[in-house]
Amino acid sequence: MRYGGFSTLLYKEVLRFWKVGSQTVGAPVLTALLYLLIFSHVLEGHVKVHGVIYTAFLIPGLVMMSVLQNAFANSSSSLIQSKVTGNIVFVLLPPISYLEFFAAYVLASVVRGLVVGTGVLFATFWFAPLTFAEPWWILVFALMGGAILGSLGVIAGIWADKFDQLAAFQNFLIMPLTFLSGVFYSINSLPPFWQQVSHWNPVFYMIDGFRHGFFGVSDASPWLSLAVVGTCLAVLTTLTLNLLKRGYKLRA
């Protein structure tokens, strides 16, 4: 264990989810595996996307969806629990700056996202031939997507006063955004209207760019995706830092 406000907080946040790993890592891996079994069973042989068989196409989508959802879950649930139980004071009393606070929670979210994502990848890659055409895109989008959702989790965890408010945030914002982002299909197969809608969903670019890293082909150019995702990250980081600096709902 290294010492200092940031590194200790990061360590504590990672230890926190690791201690309940069956719930925070095992469960989402199993869920993703079930999605794969069901969808590939139904659609395999009927659909090919970008010349790739459906199951292979689906795997990166599931991996990235797991990264994103778990990154969000990590910071948001840790913060709301700390607020509701009151033990958030342990983090507020020490000389930890708002920058360190932000970096530790977001990075721990990224770690959780990557651990779950890797777990999903290992659980699913047996089912279809997978390539790693441009692997750096895989890493870039996983890291940035995890950071964006980790940051959103910080906002949601700080904003929500009760667990059901956090659940609403998750059910009405995070779930629709991740499900309607081309995890299960290429948006080119959608009617034009829904294609337009999807282009306004930033999660679409995260998944699309991530998938590009595997197959070297995608719905949008990976550079466009990078620009969109990078802008999102910058905006959310600024917003979250601003809330933390003001002590919004943390320091009355």
Binding site: Y3, L15, N87, L92, L93, I96
Partner: protein, 303 residues
């Protein structure tokens, strides 16, 4: 040398509650200071403002010369706070909690000090128990330990003995006294006034967000409370005495300032032909001071 704690004109409002209303207070280094007041007086709010958990609407607070806002890193490193609420992190063991807290303050290898705190608070046997498994009193001990883990020179305890058994009180006060003797400044809030009377050398009383009394414990006792002779007799008390005293359930209470007044008082009773059935000496106590102060008697008004 800057004061351990300096609070200047601090105000804080929550909605339409004026929790703090222009508080001025200074605690010197090495003091054992009591912060008293009824529920809702603003004690916790004041401590929270000092710890940076609450932002004051106006005024300045500093810990050993370091402003709690502009120089919060230094201020927080110098301050250890035991919160009033019994909070804990259910994910960790006692030792993990202390190591993590220690790391937040940038303390390197701190195991020896952690062991010492555990020992002094009677927690050694629980070191590897999960926080969830501890009884309320044990959790309270861990809360104290967490506040001390970075060896803060200024320690603030917000009702550390609420709902705590006799044994922990004694261990706790023994330990805190030792820290005070070693030079740590201690600020304590409690509703057990006897505790404050025994421990604190100086006391501030808060009421509705204002300081309504501030003096050494000895002075407060002298000013607001007196010795009294409490007695029961079978005869009729002389009028001279009934005028200065008060009767309650057959007991007469006769105030006096110095012990040389006791014998003449008794002589007068004897001269009136009364024989004593019961006699005790009531000592000044902080409870009486507290009640009088809260009833609005300001210093010096006591007759």
């Amino acid at each position: 040398m800057s004061a351990a704690i300096r609070i200047q004109q601090v105000s804080k409002r929550f909605g339409n509650v004026q929790a703090l209303d222009g508080i001025d207070l200074e605690v010197q280094r090495g003091e054992f200071f009591g912060l008293l007041g009824p529920n809702g007086a603003g004690k916790t709010t004041l401590i929270s403002a000092l710890a940076g958990l609450v932002r004051a609407d106006a005024g300045n607070l500093s810990v050993m010369g370091h402003d709690v806002q502009s120089d919060y890193r230094a201020a927080r490193r110098l301050l250890g706070v035991v919160p009033q609420e019994l909070v804990f992190d259910p994910f960790f063991t006692v030792r993990e909690s202390l190591k993590i807290q220690s790391g937040y303050f940038g303390m390197g290898d701190n195991d020896r000090w952690i062991d010492e705190i555990l020992e002094n608070l009677g927690l050694t046997s629980k070191a590897n128990a999960n926080m969830r498994m501890l009884s309320g009193g044990m959790k309270r001990r861990v809360l104290v330990a967490q506040a001390l883990v970075h060896r803060p020179p200024v320690i603030v305890l917000d009702e550390p003995t609420a709902g705590v058994d006799v044994e922990l009180r004694q261990t706790l006060w023994h330990f805190i006294r030792r820290l005070n003797e070693a030079g740590h400044t201690i600020v304590l809030t409690t509703h057990y006034l006897e505790e404050a009377e025994n421990l604190c050398t100086r006391i501030a009383m808060l009421k509705a967000g204002r300081v309504v009394a501030l003096d050494t414990t000895a002075n407060l006792l002298r000013r607001f409370s007196v010795h009294s002779l409490r007695l029961r007799t079978d005869g009729v008390m002389p009028e001279e005495l009934t005028r200065q005293g008060a009767e309650n359930g057959g007991w007469w209470s006769l105030p006096f300032d110095g012990f040389d007044e006791v014998e003449p008082l008794l002589a007068k009773i004897r001269a009136a032909g009364c024989s004593l059935k019961d006699l005790e000496i009531g000592k000044p106590d902080l409870e009486e001071v507290f009640v009088r102060v809260m009833q609005g008697q300001s210093q010096g008004q006591l007759n």
